[in-house]
Symmetry: C2
Subunit: 317 residues, 2 copies
């Protein structure tokens, strides 16, 4: 399959700068993650190897990029948001490691490589996930003023927990055995938590990192600012999920780097399954346009976030 | 087996008050945990049921009791430490749920009841553990001054993570397949992290909850106070582990409420295996005496903590 099949055609030609931004921020985040982790030679060696294997398996670093871009869009410095970006990536990676386990999605392949439990065994994959989840909160505990730090803990714990990501995963699990979603609203409610919550957390943490600079943004209040970012994030997250579903239907494992057509094989409801491929693509396009529009009050400062939305729906893996 | 077989004979007859303390604090902690969790009717129902099943499975609430008693011993109010005690118990419960999984210890029985994965399936047990771990940090985010709250996050994340509990578990796992500990120092280094770290966290959080009251305790500085509690906790934790090992050797599943003689069956090094039963018991007694002595500068305020050490080594499950 050609990558362009999944492109939703926003008409943007500004992909060069975005690629540069993503690559440089991936390098930045990777260096910060490397410093946050105990050295590779630390004992017990096995769990450190497993954590590093999964953290540095070539992830797209979309959530960290959103966190850094949100901080910058609010007039903050990206470096101030870097530890928060790392914390979010630790949470994201733990969720992938646990999701891939035989008892959960039972996936052997992730980003074109053996999944953590295939490489290190199930027990270590469970522990490595637990360690990454715990480390996310350890990272938040250092380097910020106490008021900011504890607000970051609140945001991350809520969005990663029962009200957010884990709750969405539990729903997804329940729907595999019981009555799954049949309507678009139910499907969206699932994704808003399962993938959307951590995207929302990334953006909110970025805004928190901007600190007082965010007070100068041309919106009526910090609540308005939060609402704008939440609404941007919700649309970005749903567009991301529709793109994932489209890749699952149309991609090959070689292109996508993980097992494809697994959703349809399990009878899981997907956007293409509910709306068809063409309508799903149109929906992703609309969400993409709306996400950019929502942030328009921020002016040019939000251009990077607009480009990130395009990247999310135009990606081929 | 008679329960008294495991008693190490501290000569204390003051068990009545301690029982009363433990029962009333268990009730207090259970009510607080009940309030911290989303209601039992919350959706998705399955994960809430699984979390509540494991949290309210009749745990001894030793760590919460230590947290509350540490706060009181420093002149603080127990109610101020209650959310911290709940957070520690969430971490403890998540670690049991994940430890019992087939890929880990593969235990069917816990506190005389089917383990979480036997009752709800492996996938839900993994998620319920993740949710409990995340909830611990959510609980810390509310109800304290920011400086105190973020220090609590730091303590809990460090002690529950790679440098503490999870690191100890990873070592334990590595030692099952590779070279296990052969010397007492190695065995102790394992337990100081695997069970000791969360006990240390419970005590430190209790001291933090006492706030300014802790400054009036008759020790030279807050660092000295922390050292005393750490040294008390280290001895308590080791005495606890020796007692666990003795119960594993001498108990029956009916008495103990979980599978016994599993350590010997796996060739795991234990205190009785290394030192023999009689010497292990003597060692627990000495640790118990030393733990009480360490806190003697605190005077009568520390009596409850001294009694808790006795309970730990005299318990029969």
């Amino acid at each position: 399959m050609s990558a362009s099949k999944n492109r939703v055609g926003t008409g943007s030609k500004q992909t060069f700068d975005l690629q540069g931004f993503l690559e440089s921020r991936t390098a930045l985040v990777n260096r910060a993650l490397d410093r946050s982790l105990p050295p590779a030679t630390a004992k017990p060696a096995t769990i450190h190897k497993a954590m590093r294997y999964s953290l540095f398996a070539g992830g797209k670093r979309m959530r960290p990029a959103l966190c850094l871009a949100a901080a910058a869009a609010c007039g903050g410095r990206e470096t101030d948001a870097l530890p928060l970006a790392c914390a979010v990536e630790c949470i994201h990676t733990y969720s992938l490691v646990h999701d891939d386990l035989p008892a959960m999605d039972d996936d052997d392949l992730r980003r074109g490589q053996p999944t953590c439990h295939k490489k290190f065994g199930e027990a270590l994959a469970i522990l490595a996930g637990d360690a990454l989840l715990t480390m996310a909160f350890e990272v938040l505990g250092h380097g910020y003023l106490a008021d900011t730090a504890i607000e970051c803990v609140r945001v991350l714990a809520r969005e990663a927990g029962l009200a957010g990501m884990v709750g969405g995963q539990a729903d997804d699990l329940a729907w595999e055995t019981e009555d799954g979603p049949r309507r678009l609203e139910e499907l969206e409610s699932l994704h808003v938590r399962k993938t959307g919550a951590l995207i929302r957390a990334s953006l909110r943490l970025g805004v928190l990192a901007a600190g007082e600079a965010a007070l100068k943004v041309p919106v009526p209040s910090s609540l308005h600012l939060q609402i704008l970012f939440d609404e941007y994030g919700r649309r970005l997250g749903l567009a991301f999920q529709i793109t994932d579903d489209l890749l699952d239907v149309e991609g090959t494992a070689d292109d996508v780097g993980k097992r494809v057509q697994k959703d349809a094989g399990r009878g899981k409801l997907t956007y293409p399954g509910l709306l068809g491929v063409a309508e799903s693509r149109r929906r992703a396009e609309r969400l993409c346009r709306e996400a950019c529009e929502v942030l328009s009050p921020l002016g040019p400062a939000a251009h990077r976030l607009a480009e990130l939305v395009r990247y999310v729906v135009e990606r081929d893996r």
